[in-house]
Amino acid sequence: MFNQLFKLAQRLAPLIGLAAWLLLAAGLYWSLVKAPADYYQGEVARLMNLHVPLAKTSLLAYSVAFIASIVYLWKRAPLADQIAHAAMAVGIVFTACTLMSGSIWGKPTWNAWWTWDARLVSFAVMFLMMAGYLMLRTYVEDPERQARFAAVLALVGFIDLPVIHLSVRWWRTLHQPASFKGAGKIAIAPEMLTSLALMAAGMMTLFVYLTLLYTRRLQLQAQLEQKQRQQLMEFAQ
């Protein structure tokens, strides 16, 4: 059932990709033109429309990898491992962009590109976990062992996600607390919320699109390796 749904999604991938970029273009227009400048931060606050959706997408990427890793360890389904691998490979790009955009916002606002703040450090740890995951996949040659080790690492690294979320509550940090505190408790003006929602929808759709592409890439690579192995065996005989 899931395999069939996934194949359908892969067939629809070009449309999903187009939808992602159109949503991002709409979000960009709303962020740069329609949304008002912030009273305290001025124009620089427009970067929040980029930084927050990137951060949410990075967390979504790790969560997808976490769930897929559990499914792999439980069912040993190769597709689950491929989705986890793809989510991490795509997620690391979003995580790097989150750190970059946060740094660019931090310089005019905090007068520092980087500070050893709990939220920033815990997010950087997630980036390192993703990098470690991808490195592990290149070091272990046996595909079954590689998938198993990587899945375990993804599970261990998931501990960082609640730390990221709660860091602004647990410690007194420079990073501002969450603006979304459940339904009906949103500390953002409605005209600013539209741009944030459009950018978040665009980023998450782009994540889905890139994950579908990367999964297809892993499937094709596996097919190619199998084909090459067969050719080698035929040549040896």
Binding site: L47, L50, C97, R216, L220
Partner: protein, 149 residues
């Protein structure tokens, strides 16, 4: 062919959004240079970016008086708009209003230094990274599909 249309649509939409952002910046945010300010006729709406000179800030009935220091050149400002409490001495501010015949500015808007370069750099860098990642992944996939076939 479908891929070309897809990429064309996406890039056209992005460029249109960037262009609209640039137009808004020029119309509502960008300050003019002092040399250009000197050439403006009285009554022209302008925006200036400069530092509020130390010791120049005075409150008058319904107005704030201060001198804007722009690269050592002084422009007297009379501000009658809202949110005057954000004006501080030695603070770099964006001030908008009408140029007067004597060269002073009758301001109706004050805002903090926009530092728009950071906004452009942030959006530009991230969107370029994401576009490049999408393009390289699509090209790699097409190459693999050809090899497998």
């Amino acid at each position: 062919m479908i891929n070309w249309i897809r990429w064309g649509l996406a890039l056209a939409a992005l460029l249109a959004a960037v262009n609209a952002g640039w137009q808004r910046y020029q119309e509502q945010v960008a300050p003019i240079a002092l040399s250009a300010y000197a050439q403006q006729s009285a009554g022209t709406q302008v925006r200036l970016l400069g530092r509020v000179s130390g010791g120049s800030l005075k409150a008058e009935a319904g107005a704030l008086l201060f001198v804007l220091d722009i690269d050592g050149q002084k422009v007297p400002v009379r501000y009658t708009g809202k949110d005057g409490d954000s004006v501080r001495e030695l603070k770099t501010m964006l001030v908008g209003g009408k140029r007067q015949a004597d060269g002073s500015l009758a301001a109706d808007f004050v805002g903090i230094n926009p530092k728009y370069g950071y906004v452009a750099a942030g959006f530009g860098l991230v969107l370029c990274v994401l576009l490049l990642r999408t393009l390289t992944l699509e090209l790699k996939l097409r190459k693999l599909e050809r090899e497998v076939a």
